[in-house]
Amino acid sequence: MITIDRVSKTKGRTQILYDVTFEARPGQVTGFLGPNGAGKTSTLRILLGLDRPQRGTALVCGRPYRELDRPLTTVGALLDGSGAHRARTARAHLRWVAASNGLPDSRVDEVLEVVGLTGDALKRAGRFSLGMSRRLGLATALLGDPEVLVLDEPVNGLDPAGIRWMREFLRDSAEQGRTVLLSSHLMGELAEIADDVIVIDKGRIVIQGRLADVIGDHRTLEDAFFALTATEAGGAW
């Protein structure tokens, strides 16, 4: 369960998030939709304790990220890139991450297998292609077998097989009771997997609800999005 309550953030002198409020529930795939620069990544970074908001709270299972003990067992995050140092091998990277949260080294081989990187375990992360980097990032997120998954543009850089694999993986995760929050600007893709949708534009939440409700009378999610963000007056719910 993820609860974001009236989060506002200023970067330098520009305000980038205005009273952002929403929830992501367990057992659902929640899609966080918005154009580039809308504030999706900023919100996620605040949720994950990487950045501080000026106001508001972001809670995972009722607690701020920084207060979680062994956070990787609760939340698995996939942000851009692999998060690994260029000169380290994939295995060495996963091993230190595993150690940091008291996870057994056997998990390293398990997650490498899940994402299909077993053969590349001894390659340096700097030699990975874009797709391989994302898979390494996902492997890192899965090390702790977390109940919450937070993914920022997860299909970015994946080939069609990879995209399909990700889609099924996220649906299965939700069906197993996990909370899945993913952000994207690819509306077609999001419409395939999301149960709940939150639309953000220019730092404000424009609409949120079940996928069908957000689409409403429009033909597609994309049509709905453009219609909803066309009016400047759209305020936060």
């Binding site: 501080r52 956070p71 990787l72 260029r86 000169a87 091993r95 949260n101 890192t140």
Partner: protein, 213 residues
Amino acid sequence: MNTTRAELRKLVTLPSLRLTALLTWTGTLLLTFAYASAESRGEPLGHDAALAPLGYTQAGFLVLGVLAAASEHQAGDQIRTTLLAMPRRLPLHAAKAVTLAAVTLPLAAVTAVTSTVPAGDTARTPAATAYLILTTLLAAAVASLVRRAVPAMVLLLSLYFIAGPLLRARSDTIAAYLPDTAALDPSRGTAATIIWTLSALTLAALTVHRRDA
């Protein structure tokens, strides 16, 4: 503790650190040889042959500290992974310092021995070892503030090898306040080294605690 284990694994799997360690020790060996050979030729290179090589190879320890800390921010966004896995920043910072000191200890000891023993001055080996470890920690603190290796090195090299000698030549009193005086003269400036290092570490800890990742 988990954090320490993780940081330890990080340090021993960073190839550039191993290379730096090797080069530093080799450099010390060569310089010690140079000093000894000059003495035997009747042309001593001046003052303290036991510690003088360290005055140069301490640069290697600066590099060690800078690379260890800067590696979080360069060549990939590892700092993000680190903060996601270990979000409490003050304990993380402390664990990083402790592991770096632990990993540096063998190199520092070997280097100090290489420099002091041939000159027959083993009494100062422990002090030299401690100095080198503190220097590494200071460099790491600076690099975690600056977040990039080259600027951090420019800063440190300027202080240690340009500003330091200049200031030391002008005034003995200033010399006691500089962090690197203890390299050549442990009887003075030891307190300075310790205070500089602790201050840098504290400043870095506080900054990292509040800063966006």
